[in-house]
Subunit: 251 residues, 2 copies
C-alpha cells in the first residue's frame, strides 16, 4: 500500500497564546476537522504578532505540506498583521477584495458604517479568494494552498464548515482505543511487538493516574479499516494472554 | 531602555496533540511559568513522534533562544523517542544516568522491579543532568540549554516547580487588562495611537461576543511597571473621551 498521504501545516498567530493568557483551542479543532477530510496535521507552529516570524513559519510549512492553515490576526486592529505578512511571504501586494468590501458594507450598514479600520478586514493578498463567515461578516481568505482563518475558535469553526468537503484528501486516518489498568511500562514490549506485526498501523500509549490507580489508553491508528481491526484484535488477545483485561473503547 | 530580553522556545512532541485526540495544556502552562521567571515564550512547534521532525525543531529553536523546553515522549514505550532524537540533534550518544537508575529502582522496588522498558526512562543524552519528579520517579532532563519535560501536564508542573528560580531571566513581562463593551473596529485608531505614544508597551485587542453583545479586552504589556501604568491610564482616558466606559481588569 503506497497510498498518497495528504498533509497540512498550521500556523497559529498570536501573542495571546504565547503569553499564556489564552488557552489555544484551534489545534485540536483543526486537527479533528482535517482527519475528517483525509488530511493529516503534520506540524504546528505558534508565532508572535511579528511579521518576520509569520513569514518564516508560513514559507516553511506551505512548501512541505499540501495545505497550510493559519489562525489569528485578521481583525481590524493594529496587531492584526496576518494578511500583510502572508502577502509578504508570497511576494505579492495587498488589495481590497470587492466582495469582502460589499459584505462588510452590508454588515456594518446598521452598525455605524464601514470605517477605515473595518475596511482592513477586506484586505487580502493579491489574487486571493474568500472563505465565508456567516457570523461577523469578516471573511476568511484562501490564497493558493493557504487558508487564513479567524483566531476566535467559534468563528474558525464556521469557516471550516464552509470549507468542508472542498479539499482533496486521502482516506481518513481511523483510530480505535483500548484501555487497560496497567502501568504502561509493564506492557511496553507487548505494544512494540504488536505494532511491528501490523504494517500500516501505529500504536500510541497514553498513561494516566486516576482513582489512585495507574492505567493507559492505547490508541491504534491506520488509514486501512481492516488492518486497524486486525491490530486491535491482536492487541486485545496479547493483553489477555498477559493476564490483563483490555477495555474496548478506552478507559 | 535596551534591556536584555530572555527568550525560550518550546517543542511539543506528540502524535496525540496533532491528531486532535488530546487538548494541549502545556503551552499555556509553560508560557505562564516562563513569564514569572522573566523569560518570554518566543515560538512553539508541535511535531509528531518522528525523529527527523524532532531534531529539526529542537535544533532551530535551541539555537535562537536562551532556553528550549520540550514536552512529551519520555515514557517507557516504543513511541517515546525524545531522548534519542535530542541526543541525535546534539550529536552525542545516549547513556543510562546512574542517579535516574537508582531513583527508578527505588520507585519500582515494590512495583514489580526495574524492567528493561522501565530502564528506558533512565536514559539521557550523554552528559545531561536530571530534573526532579517527585510524582512518578521518572525524572526530567536538562542538557545544556534544553529542558526535557514530561507530556502529562501535572507531571510537567512538578518539573517546572523543581526548576523555579533556577533559570536566569530578565524582568517579568507585566500586563494589565481593560475591557470595554465596544466593537474593536470602532476603537482601532485609538488603540494604535495609544500604543505609539507609549514606548516599550504593546496593546493586544481580544474581541468577544457575549450575552448578545460585542466587546473586547485590551491587554497592555510591558516589562516596565511605570510605563505600563502610564499606558493603561492613557488608554482609559482616551476611551472615556470617546464616550466609552473602560472596565479595569477586563470583562
Amino acid at each position: 500500500m503506497s497510498e498518497r498521504i495528504w498533509t497540512a501545516g498550521l500556523t497559529i498567530i498570536g501573542d495571546e497564546i504565547l503569553s499564556g493568557r489564552t488557552q489555544d483551542r484551534n489545534v485540536a479543532q483543526i486537527a479533528g476537522w482535517l482527519n475528517l477530510q483525509g488530511i493529516r496535521l503534520a506540524e504546528v507552529r505558534i508565532v508572535p504578532d511579528v511579521e518576520e516570524a509569520i513569514v518564516e513559519a508560513v514559507n516553511a510549512l506551505r512548501a512541505r505540506n499540501d495545505y497550510l492553515f493559519t489562525t489569528g490576526g485578521i481583525g481590524p486592529t493594529h496587531d492584526d498583521i496576518t494578511v500583510d505578512a502572508i502577502a509578504s511571504a508570497l511576494g505579492v501586494g495587498v488589495e481590497v477584495h470587492p466582495k469582502a468590501r460589499a459584505v462588510l458594507e452590508a454588515h456594518y450598514a446598521t452598525r455605524g458604517g464601514l470605517t477605515e479600520a473595518r475596511l482592513r478586514m477586506a484586505r487580502v493578498p493579491a489574487g486571493a479568494e474568500l472563505i465565508e463567515n456567516p457570523m461577523s461578516g469578516a471573511p476568511g481568505i484562501r490564497t493558493g494552498n493557504i487558508f487564513i482563518l479567524a483566531g476566535v475558535p467559534h468563528i474558525a469553526t464556521l469557516m471550516l464548515e464552509a470549507l468542508s468537503g472542498t479539499l482533496e484528501g486521502g482516506r481518513p486516518l481511523l483510530s480505535k482505543t483500548i484501555g487497560c489498568w496497567v502501568p504502561e511500562s509493564e506492557v511496553a514490549d507487548l505494544l512494540r511487538d504488536t505494532e511491528k506485526a501490523h504494517e500500516g498501523c501505529q500504536i500510541g500509549s497514553y498513561p494516566f493516574f486516576r482513582d489512585g490507580k495507574v492505567g493507559a489508553n492505547f490508541v491504534v491508528r491506520s488509514a486501512d479499516a481492516a488492518a486497524l481491526d486486525g491490530c486491535v484484535a491482536d492487541l486485545e488477545a496479547r493483553l489477555v494472554a498477559a493476564g490483563r483485561t483490555p477495555v474496548s473503547g478506552g478507559i
